[in-house]
Symmetry: C2
Subunit: 165 residues, 2 copies
């Protein structure tokens, strides 16, 4: 039971505070809900599945990406996970220290480095991901299938709208 203000209360207070301004409240509260939902979901998955396995959210996303795509060059991993390449350097260092991933320098272009799961990394993903996905399924379970489809499609539209510079 969070003692914070609910999203509905924030919406009401916002209108009172700035109702004299010509603002798009619908957009504001849609994106506030987006931010809070992403935060809440991330926190829930981190606490129930990731932390017991000593993984961070970002570290897990890197592992998951490499699991799906087998091997990937670092800047692609960074872009796929949604972090800067500088951040990836640090995260990869952490994962390498645990022998979950390995670096593979390119022989054709010596500027390039690929990342790949180690057997131990594969083992960890095979163990963790079913549980991770089960929690995802639980979280999403309270939203009807039709609404979930609309939500997912709308979110993808937002990604495109935001990235169009």
């Amino acid at each position: 039971m969070p003692d914070r203000h609910t999203l509905a209360e924030v919406e009401r207070a916002t209108r009172e505070r700035v109702e004299h301004l010509p603002l798009d409240f619908t957009a504001s509260h849609a994106l506030l809900s987006l931010y809070r939902a992403a935060n809440a979901v991330r926190g829930r998955l981190t606490n129930t599945v990731l932390r017991p396995n000593d993984l961070t959210w970002t570290g897990f996303l890197v592992l998951w990406t490499l699991w799906i795509w087998d091997s990937m060059e670092t800047r692609e991993v960074a872009d796929s996970v949604g972090i800067s390449k500088g951040t990836l350097t640090g995260v990869a260092k952490t994962l390498m220290a645990r022998d979950l991933i390995e670096r593979i320098p390119s022989v054709e272009d010596r500027r390039l480095v690929s990342l790949k799961l180690t057997p131990e990394g594969v083992r960890l993903m095979e163990e963790i991901y079913p549980e991770f996905n089960k929690t995802e399924s639980t979280i999403v379970g309270d939203v009807s299938a039709e609404h979930l489809t609309v939500m997912t499609d709308s979110l993808r539209t937002l990604v495109e709208s935001s990235e169009a510079e």
Copy 2:
């Protein structure tokens, strides 16, 4: 034009990689879209509106919260913004160094501290928020009104599902 894999491509690759497992792909891709959308929106708003004004995302949220609610005790601010109270201490320090907020210790209960915008903080919010909201409106503009309503409601449901422990 992002050179990363699109969400649709990730979805296809995921199915190929783990199709033999009994997983909830719908949930997985809904939440992946949620994470990416939140990241993209945050990045867009940060780059176009916040960074030119030397504000971080979290710093802005703290200012915005105090603007809406006038004055608030620190743990409420942290909860409202979605950060830990330890993080808030650091962010508040940064904002205080710029004279955008001020600390108000409680006289009745000397453990409590409230935060409040300074006149300069109010001035900054009055200047920035209309522009912030305008960008929000642009981002959301590609989603129809009906879909946006469904999306926002679904996101609120996700917040509740995630926070129910």
